[in-house]
Symmetry: C2
Subunit: 199 residues, 2 copies
């Protein structure tokens, strides 16, 4: 519908996840009228991300060096590993500032429907890391959905003979939410995991 | 939250219209794991669009040459000019394949709230184009909202002494819509503009 490069840009933008045809058009026109320096910077950072970004050799988080910032940080507690599905989950846990251990990114979750089995995840690499005896607790922080729960169940069985503490983050009511609007499963879990308060 | 270039990319993507922080992160991870050739192509097209794309000297549609594809096409009917707000409106009208005339892109609509007056739109350039006597009809296809209607009213008054036919696309019920769900103004316009049917 548009001429040459403008249509090319709309086509390329439309291939990005979460960007529909209207969104691609909107972004293209924004870029057309924006400062050339801004567009050049975006183009440069796209090239650089493919050149420089890679995955941490140890935990498979995104990284700019052989080891990611967390693995390379000597102040992190090396006795705990938090197992997550994707690098974005590392960022989510880091934002809480509650966890000072290390991570292990599985690269997905078990999902027979999508043809993803345990052999497609970085489970062997996790076992390798646990073999040095430094780790004492593994927190399985996969998503609280069917695939994530299946992955957590698989991992906890797989790891149970290693003599480690295996934990899973608590399920319950989201903070700031309404009890009335919680789904039955979440509310059920919240009751199951209730804690004594006060004195 | 992420390292170096990955965070840079998320920041840059997050500046695009309609892309929130979660969307920027999603796109960044998609690009991280996608074929380097695809990312290079996106980077190249971004650079090219700023180098090659410009605005048509006559109608101010986006173009790759001095004149856009529509203005340069000898088969277009030069007696009609369709006035629109933005280049994306040209694309929308072109998709209908109903209009074979030329366009004029105003570059916005009158909006006192945003400090946009008639002098900020390409009205003088439109007058210049109408002065050669070749044009006999001007279709004012600004958006059917407050700003677009104000612009249409302004233009129709401004042009009324030129002896041209001044028209506006019909307002009415969208095809495929439900009468029940039409807003009062649209339904009112649809009744006002009703047409005789059959014989």
């Amino acid at each position: 519908m548009y001429e040459g490069v403008v249509q090319d840009l709309i086509d390329e933008l439309g291939r990005l996840p979460g960007v529909g045809p209207k969104g691609a058009q909107r972004i293209a026109f924004h870029l057309l009228t924006s400062d050339p320096a801004d567009v050049t910077r975006l183009a440069e950072v796209l090239v650089q991300v493919k050149e420089k970004a890679r995955f941490c050799e140890r935990c498979f988080n995104v990284s700019q060096d052989a080891l990611c910032r967390v693995c390379a940080d000597p102040r992190r507690d090396r006795s705990m590993i938090c197992v997550v599905e994707e690098p974005k989950d590392v960022a989510a846990v880091e934002r809480t500032r509650e966890f000072r251990g290390l991570y292990h990114v599985l690269g997905g979750a078990i999902s027979p429907m999508d043809g993803v089995g345990p052999q497609d995840l970085r489970v062997a690499e996790l076992m390798q890391r646990l073999s040095d005896g430094e780790v004492t607790e593994v927190i399985i922080a996969t998503d609280p959905n069917i695939q994530g729960e299946a992955t957590a169940t698989y991992l906890s069985r797989f790891l149970k003979d290693l003599g480690l503490r295996i934990t899973r983050p608590a399920s319950g009511l989201p903070v700031g939410g309404d009890l009335e609007y919680a789904d039955e499963v979440t509310l059920g879990r919240a009751f199951e995991g209730r804690r004594a308060v006060g004195a």
